[in-house]
Amino acid sequence: MFLRILDRLEEILIATLIAAATLLIFAAVVQRFAVGIELLYPIFYPINLTWAQELCVYMFVWMAKFGAAYGVRTGIHVGVDVVVNVLEPKIRNKVVLFGLLCGAFFTFVVGSMGAKFVFELYSTDQVSPDLELPRWIVFLCVPLGSYLMCFRFLQVAWAFWRTGQLPHHDVAHVEGVDEVPALAQDASR
């Protein structure tokens, strides 16, 4: 139950962030144009969007950290599997498990380093240049995202140990191929 909520939250967070960042930059560009038009100048001039770029970057960094955790669950992080795939199944399983645990270890170390860093920032009063957000809030995505990613690696490793199945991001699967004949006729008309 808790896991299901976590999964959904993760998905909603990253999808919202990418949508919001896109709209934000779009709005900033539109505003810049509108200011250039004399008629609209009085309406748009007072709107100050100089902070848009900074916020966009922060939103994407947050999206990257949590999206990377989501990516472990969907198996999108690709590695070099040419050698592993020709190994004997028994050895292969061990190597794959080692890889997953390395992932968990690395993200744990990074998360802890990030946590320490955020903790030190918390005692300072550093703020970001345009938005003037406290720096420690901005950096909070490093420990949170990395610990979540660590958890996802452990989850995947556990599932692999139990069932021998890895999440697999299927590049060869193409959505909508089944509905293609209609389109195909359309194109060959």
Partner: protein, 441 residues
């Protein structure tokens, strides 16, 4: 000595099949902990600041735009337009496939996305018309690679990002800045069109030799209708390239604009996508972008380590000391990148090798823009052959063909690409002429 240790560890970790990003990060961590006194805080800071740049954010925007375009009926209308233009020649549908790929490449920054968008529609149509499956799959898998050469291109953004912080000194001792995204985009136009023509010529020749079916000639009225229908998609080319060239947008802004624009035409103008499909597209784009951004984060860490160990400088002085000219060096670069293309996917290769090759190339007088285009073409070749060529896997999913069969199917076009790679490598003007004419170089 240290460099051997670093690369040895990296390669050993990568061969276990763990994600490349994790292998890069672990190499840096273990090396810093064991061998050096670099404060760990510097690393923690880099983990965040590594991707804290507005330029990099073009990548998620282009991915989002590409996904909207793929699902939004833009590709179908481009195919119809291309078919009405070249369908009556030998191998008409194949040629239309190449042209549609080139058109779609001009709005999308990714090769596999181009294969999906064009291939999933045109491949079944080709089979229906009596073309052998192999021919169709071969054309689309290779032409889809145009996606990263014809701007916009995610690989070019990655190259600009990867080499942005490197220190390059040219033979006269002046500092050389890396190529900007805008320069690379403009430089990709002519090589992109040239490769499209070469692939088209190969298609034409094969179809003429085997006497594949042609379509009846469409009259001009039909062509005009097809053009009018696809004009919304084609307009995006003007927005992105024109906007960047005229200085109206930065590349990142252009990417964001094209994402919003693609959303609007997919949902409100062509209405091939329902509003309820949008969250799925957003999630898929976020997933893909986060993966690339995560590799960038760790690649930045890795290049930080290399810089602090002075590895690029060591290689540079060794190469200049050994008297290797730019001709020999570029040959070596091609071989290295083609070999890397056998085991890794493009974004990782560019991010890892970019910062190493850039200072060496610059010290031999090679233009950073030229190096960027050359690397992009190398990545294209890597996408089209096994074992990791992503285009092949996507095409095999669409055509329901095995990878082995597909490997045989692509070879005429792959050979064309290799010849093209040779031309791009040793004729720098091909990449440099347009940006210079536009006064961007």
């Amino acid at each position: 000595m240290n460099s051997i240790l670093i690369f040895g560890l990296l390669i050993a970790l990568m061969l276990t099949g763990m994600p490349i990003s994790i292998a890069l990060g672990l190499t840096v961590l273990s090396f810093l902990f064991i061998m050096t006194q670099v404060p760990i805080e510097a690393v923690a800071l880099k983990l965040f600041t590594g991707i804290e740049s507005f330029e990099i954010m073009a990548i998620p925007f282009f991915i989002l735009a590409g996904n909207f375009l793929t699902h939004g009926g833009v590709a179908r209308r481009m195919i119809r337009f291309a078919t009405s233009m070249v369908g009556h020649w030998y191998g008409g549908m194949g040629l239309a496939g190449v042209m549609a790929c080139a058109l779609f490449a001009a709005v999308s920054g990714s090769s596999p996305a181009t294969v999906v968008a064009i291939g999933s529609i045109i491949l079944p149509a080709m089979v229906q018309q009596g073309y052998p499956k192999r021919f169709g799959a071969g054309v689309i898998a290779t032409s889809g690679a145009l996606g990263i050469l014809i701007p916009p291109s995610i690989v070019m953004v990655l190259y600009a990002v990867a080499t942005g912080g490197s220190l390059g000194i040219d033979p006269e001792g002046k500092r050389v800045l890396s190529a900007s995204v805008a320069q690379l985009f403009m430089a990709g136009v002519i090589p992109g069109l040239m490769l499209a023509s070469l692939l088209g010529a190969t298609t034409f020749y094969r179809a003429w030799k085997n006497n594949y079916p042609r379509m009846e000639r469409k009259n001009w009225a039909d062509t005009l209708v097809a053009f009018r229908e696809s004009v919304w998609g084609l307009l995006l080319i003007v927005i992105v390239l024109g906007g960047i060239y005229a200085g109206v947008f930065t590349p990142t802004e252009a990417a964001a604009m094209s994402a919003v624009y693609a959303f609007v035409i997919a949902v409100f103008i062509y209405r091939d996508m329902k509003l309820t499909d949008v969250p799925k597209v957003l999630l898929a784009s976020a997933n893909m972008s986060a993966m690339i951004l995560y590799i960038i984060t760790n690649a930045v860490l890795f290049s930080f380590l290399m810089t602090s160990e002075q590895i690029p400088q060591t290689i540079t002085s060794w190469v200049t000391g050994a008297g290797i000219g730019w001709v020999g060096f570029l040959l070596f670069v091609n071989i290295l990148l083609l070999a890397a293309g056998n085991v890794m996917e493009p974004s990782s290769i560019v991010l890892i090798t970019g910062p190493i090759l850039f200072p060496v190339a610059v010290s031999l007088g090679i233009n950073p823009v030229h190096l960027g285009i050359l690397m992009t073409v190398n990545m294209e070749v890597g996408l089209c052959h096994p074992p990791v060529g992503l285009n092949l896997y996507v095409a095999s999913g669409i055509a329901k063909m095995g990878i082995t069969e597909l490997t045989i199917a692509v070879w005429p076009w792959l050979l064309t690409m290799l010849i093209f790679l040779g031309i791009v490598t040793y004729v720098p003007e091909l990449s440099l002429w347009l940006p210079r004419m536009l006064g961007m170089l």
